[in-house]
């Protein structure tokens, strides 16, 4: 990939059955969530300096708060602690039954994440400012912003600061080569 980003697709339902036991069909209890999160982290160890992971929750029927905290919030939090690897995440299959749990655990840890909440519809979930939300929505609609376009489409300094914050929080991707800013949903599109 020209952006130097490894693309990784992870089916959490499959990880659950392979990692913990094939008898479990639901993502419940903290030890289960911790085991699944560690299995995902092991997969990411093989990635290069930068990766974009599509974490697919579509096959998970029940997701409790403890598992949401491990598999979503802790995964994001711990990925930020690794200085040698720049990890980006998109969560897929965050349908209505899972949404509340994920929103809650993200807010509790002051995190946000890009999630596909309906087929082909992405949202920014968790803790985010109004400026971040507005900047993210503009970028999500366009898919990509060049350096020149940023001033044109983001009306005020607050929104532009919001975009910078999104870059910092790895909720969008700024190419170090071109300076272009990409919506993660667009970068993950071929993994969907």
């Amino acid at each position: 990939m020209t952006d130097g980003m490894d693309r990784i697709a992870i089916d959490v339902g499959e990880v659950l059955q392979r990692t913990v036991t094939s008898l479990y069909s639901n993502l419940v209890t903290r030890p289960t969530g911790r085991a699944v999160r560690m299995a995902i982290e092991t997969r990411l160890q093989d990635a290069g300096e930068r990766s974009l992971s599509l974490i697919d929750l579509s096959e998970v029927v029940i997701l409790d708060f403890s598992c949401a905290d491990e598999v979503v919030a802790r995964l994001l939090e711990r990925s930020r602690e690794n200085p040698s690897h720049e990890a980006f995440f998109v969560f897929r299959g965050v349908l209505e039954p899972h949404r509340d749990q994920i929103q809650t655990v993200l807010e509790r840890r002051g995190l946000a994440a890009v999630a596909e909440t309906h087929e082909d519809t992405f949202e920014l979930l968790g803790d985010r400012s109004l400026a971040e939300e507005r900047a993210w929505t503009v970028l999500e609609q366009r898919g990509l912003l060049t350096v020149e376009q940023v001033d044109d489409v983001l009306g005020d300094a607050e929104e532009r600061a919001g975009l910078d914050s999104l870059v910092e929080r790895r909720l969008v991707f700024r190419s170090p080569k071109t300076g272009r800013i990409h919506a993660l949903s667009q970068l993950a599109r071929h993994l969907l």
């Binding site: 008898l23 419940v28 029927v61 409790d64 708060f65 403890s66 802790r74 039954p97 509790r108 840890r109």
Partner: protein
């Protein structure tokens, strides 16, 4: 042998008084006389199991259990798995089966909870029946089965993570025609572990000083989401259960030690805080989910 008479009705409204009697039992072996039991719900059934466990520990022998004379009540206890669960808790002659097993109407039979695998089993087991009961009897949307399962998962994990002792869970639906004029689902989760005061004491008792006790420990966990874990992501189980129960206009109460704290809706006249109960080990959680108004 000391005789302890089980009240004729043993449910969420009477179980505290019953447990208070158990809390003050002496070391002589107890006969739990349930012959006149006419009505029992999950709080009563699981309450009997924790009562028997506490008595056995005090008396260094299994207490004896006299089953109800009513075949209807005995049959109901059998269908709820009470006599199976009571093995190892009571010395009891299991009732004779009157007929071949039929499809049970039970939402969740009494299930022991001592390990994470038990929580998985509880969540798996309720899937098939909870959806139908929540939609047909309570008028909840089909997706409510997910939130219901999450409640069960979180409340059972409370036993494993905080009690450090085994416990039980059970759930069943009822028609509270006289009390509420609606159907309800009653969930009961109880253990005989170290309770909220014991679980939180090492981390939080110092800041409360002399005020530290069962009531302040319950308030800390139930109202403020305190937990013994320093991680900010922990301690949300009870908070999220409370939020979902409130959305469904339900009631949740937790007894631990000498106090019971609750989040009660307008239709429930249970006081939100009761203290001065007899010291009883562990935690006893009751959740009532009512049908949507008009159902």
């Amino acid at each position: 042998m000391k005789v302890l008479t089980v009240p004729g009705s043993l449910d969420g409204q009477t179980v505290d008084a019953f447990l208070d009697q158990v809390a003050v039992l002496d070391e002589s072996r107890t006969f739990f006389d349930a012959r006149h039991l006419r009505w029992v719900d999950p709080n009563g059934m699981v309450g009997l199991l924790v009562a028997g466990t506490v008595a056995a520990k005090k008396q260094s022998t299994l207490p004896r259990f006299g089953p109800p004379e009513s075949p209807d009540v005995t049959g109901y206890l059998s269908r709820m798995g009470f006599f199976e669960a009571a093995k190892g808790v009571f010395e009891c002659d299991p009732p004779v089966r009157r007929s071949a097993a039929r499809d049970s109407d039970v939402l969740l039979e009494i299930t022991p909870v001592s390990a994470n695998a038990d929580v998985h089993e509880v969540v798996d087991r309720v899937q098939s029946k909870a959806g139908a009961i929540l939609t047909s009897k309570l008028g909840y949307p089909p997706t409510a089965v997910v939130q219901f399962s999450v409640i069960l998962s979180e409340v059972c994990q409370n036993i494993i993570e905080h009690a450090e002792a085994p416990g039980w869970v059970a759930a069943q639906s009822y028609n509270w025609a006289r009390r509420l004029g609606r159907n309800v689902v009653v969930i009961s989760v109880m253990d005989v572990g170290r309770g909220f005061r014991g679980s939180l004491g090492d981390e939080h008792s110092a800041r409360y000083g002399d005020r530290w006790g069962d009531t302040t420990a319950l308030e800390a966990a139930f109202l403020h989401g305190l937990t013994r874990f320093p991680d900010s992501g922990r301690g949300q189980g009870i908070q999220q259960i409370r939020r979902q129960v409130r959305r469904w206009d339900g009631a949740i109460t937790i007894r631990s030690g000498t106090a019971r704290i609750g989040q009660v809706p307008e239709w429930d006249d249970t006081p939100p805080l009761v203290d001065g109960l007899e010291p009883f080990p562990g935690a006893q959680i009751s959740i009532v989910l009512p049908a949507k108004a008009g159902e």
